[in-house]
């Protein structure tokens, strides 16, 4: 059943779930102008509730955009509902989020790189919450009515599986292939789930947080090294290490 997010009907401030994504002040322009007033969000939620009772677990707004989390079994029928009841004929994208914390080592941090952003180490979830590590999210829009909504669905961590939207939105074909390839989420009903970007037979799912950014594992961040020695010093070092020509180079610009 729909979780009780504060159902402010008329308040101009956007409705916020108590999820750990409090809306700090967003840009005033999208709220006040004719873009996305609250009545539209309520209307959409209403239509979903009528078409798929009990599908919506939670909803929230991401800087004025409606985000709805639905149950896993209702993801399949949701495509048809979005197409017909919500009049959303346009599929923007289907992708996934991995809520596991960004690793510090094995990630970009090989060798003590200090420039990469430091992300929190606990797993927290975003707008409309989440039940676990993986979520599939998709956005549909209506070209005629000018509204849109982002839908999120939880997928099981050990066996990520969710229904495919290909029957309703043929464009979901490639999006779901990419999501499977990058996150490992399988789409039930997809005709041909195979690699899209990566070579066939690639092992692993790159966008998962436990898949390291290989560039930094193979080779340390060049910005780590100290300033390269001035040419005279470098020459002196090379001349000093006369016989060992190749070893003498490591004093000057060792990060080469």
């Amino acid at each position: 059943m729909p979780e009780a997010a504060p159902p402010t009907a008329e308040a101009p401030a956007p409705e916020t779930a108590e999820a750990p994504a409090p809306e700090t002040a967003e840009a005033p322009a999208p709220e006040t102008a004719e873009a996305r007033p609250d009545p539209v969000h309520l209307d959409l939620l209403d239509r979903i509730e009528r078409a798929l009772p009990g599908a919506v677990i939670e909803h929230g707004t991401a800087c004025g955009e409606l985000v709805i989390r639905v149950t896993n079994p209702s993801w399949g029928p949701l495509a048809g509902v979005a197409r017909s009841d919500l009049e959303c004929d346009y599929l923007s994208f289907v992708s996934a989020i991995d809520w596991a914390p960004t690793p510090r080592d094995g990630g970009d941090d090989a060798g003590g790189d200090t420039s990469a952003p430091v992300q929190p180490t606990e797993m927290t979830f975003g707008v409309a919450g989440s039940a676990g590590r993986f979520q599939v999210f998709a956005r549909v829009q209506s070209t005629a009515r000018g509204w849109g909504a982002t839908f999120k669905v939880d997928v099981d961590e050990t066996n990520p599986l969710v229904a495919s939207w290909v029957g309703v939105y043929p464009g979901a074909d490639w999006h779901e292939r990419e999501t499977w390839e990058m996150f490992g989420v399988r789409f039930d009903g997809h005709p041909n789930l195979r690699q899209l970007y990566l070579p066939a037979g690639f092992e692993g799912h790159p966008l998962r947080k436990d898949f390291p950014l290989l560039a930094r594992v193979v080779k340390p961040w060049p910005g780590l090294v100290d300033v390269e020695a001035m040419p005279e010093e470098a020459a002196a070092v090379t001349a000093g290490g006369d016989g060992a020509g190749d070893g003498a180079g490591d004093g000057a610009g060792g990060g080469e």
Partner: protein, 395 residues
């Protein structure tokens, strides 16, 4: 646990209606010949970059086509998880490299929304001007280069020549022709240089003349018309179901432009402009719509120059940009179509997850459906008319 499965061979279907459409171009006696598999790409003049199209041909007719992408996949979404916001603007410049200023705008806008900052009015106007200049630069090249794909050698040179003027303008303002990296969170890096406004007015007149020249040279050419009319028709509802956006969708009759219909962004609410559509949905319609949109962009730039407000170009932002926790989705009408960024932030100096929704990815995903039953030369025409950029597909 899901294992990496070996991909099976693509499963092609035969559409009888597509075959009937070509019946009068064939001989009545069907010779019983085998099919040929032809690889268009990844190195091919017609595929605009490293796109590989595996087509199964019967003579000169395509039975099925399977695009293979990923030759330019740079892993941007993974990279963004390890970069700070200013570092990311450098990366995303290079997604659609023909209109690179326009790539930065939705990202920076999303970050500003999360931070609660609004860029000053002058910065919004200059951003809009530079976005429209990028649109003009991209479209002028398209007008010339589609002629080249259809076989006319000359329009391509005119396209490059006229684009140079616009690139000079962008370079004058930002310092970079292709990758300006000019947006900052909160505004822009710098103000416009002296004399830039008057020079822009002159260049806009030049662009209008150039559009007239293209209309004479290409649109008025009977051979071009016979090569593009009726080729590659995308019905409006199929287009939206695939996620086709931008001029491609408007050429199919769908009246939808994010500058007018979406969440207001930049200076577009202040502008008075027309959204061009065409009912046919074929390759000619896509060419024609882009031609008109180029002219419309020129008018928009002139309006913006007239209404350019004074003031600062940068809002007050902290030195180290830390975006508060939250999620934001911003979509814009980029030259190639709808581009959007879904930023998930956890309060660090860099995002937690960025989903980059690029236009060409969806535009190209319609190819397996669209290319059934067309001739090989029509494949080239259709690819040219959809106008995708490989960096935009592969990110």
């Amino acid at each position: 646990m899901s294992t990496t499965e070996m991909p099976s061979a693509p499963d092609f279907e035969l559409e009888r209606s597509a075959m009937r459409h070509l019946a009068d171009a064939q001989m009545n006696v069907e010779l019983d010949t085998g099919d040929m598999i032809l690889n268009l790409g990844p190195q091919h003049p017609a595929t605009h970059g490293t796109l590989r199209l595996v087509v199964r041909l019967d003579g000169e007719r395509v039975i099925a086509a399977d695009p293979v992408i990923g030759y330019m996949h740079r892993g941007y979404e993974k990279l963004t998880e390890f970069r700070t916001y200013p570092q990311i603007t450098t990366l995303i410049n290079r997604i659609d490299w023909l209109s690179s200023f326009a790539n930065e705008v939705p990202f920076v806008h999303a970050a500003e929304q999360l931070m609660g900052i609004e860029a000053p009015a002058r910065a919004q106007y200059i951003r809009t001007i530079l976005t429209e200049l990028s649109r003009i630069a991209t479209f002028v090249l398209f007008l010339g280069e589609m002629g080249l794909q259809v076989g006319a050698l000359t329009p391509a040179f005119y396209g490059f020549r006229d684009r140079e003027h616009v690139l000079n303008l962008i370079e004058g303002a930002t310092g970079g022709r292709f990758h300006p990296n000019f947006n900052r969170i909160g505004g822009l890096k710098d103000d416009l240089p002296w004399g830039w406004v008057s020079e822009t007015r002159q260049v806009m007149q030049l662009v209008l003349d150039s559009c007239d020249q293209f209309e004479d040279l290409v649109v008025g050419n009977e051979i071009f018309l016979s090569r593009t009319r009726g080729i590659g028709i995308i019905p409006g509802d199929i287009g939206t179901a695939y996620g086709v956006s931008g001029s491609n969708l408007r050429a199919s009759g769908v009246d939808w432009d994010l500058r007018r219909d979406g969440v207001p962004y930049l200076a577009y609410p202040d502008l008075d402009f027309k959204v061009w559509t065409h009912a046919a949905g074929d390759s000619f319609a896509r060419y024609w719509v882009r031609l008109q949109e180029t002219r419309e962009s020129v008018r928009m730039v002139l309006q913006l120059l007239d209404g350019l407000p004074a003031g600062p170009v940068m809002a007050k932002v902290p030195r180290i940009i830390k975006v508060p926790e939250g999620e934001a989705w911003v979509e814009t009408e980029n030259p190639l179509g709808q581009m959007g960024y879904y930023i998930v932030s956890k309060g660090a100096t860099g995002p937690f997850r960025v989903k980059i929704r690029s236009a060409s990815f969806s535009n190209v995903s319609i190819l397996p459906w669209l290319l059934r039953g067309v001739y090989v030369p029509d494949v080239v025409t259709i690819l040219a008319s959809l106008y995708f950029i490989l960096g935009d597909i592969d990110r």
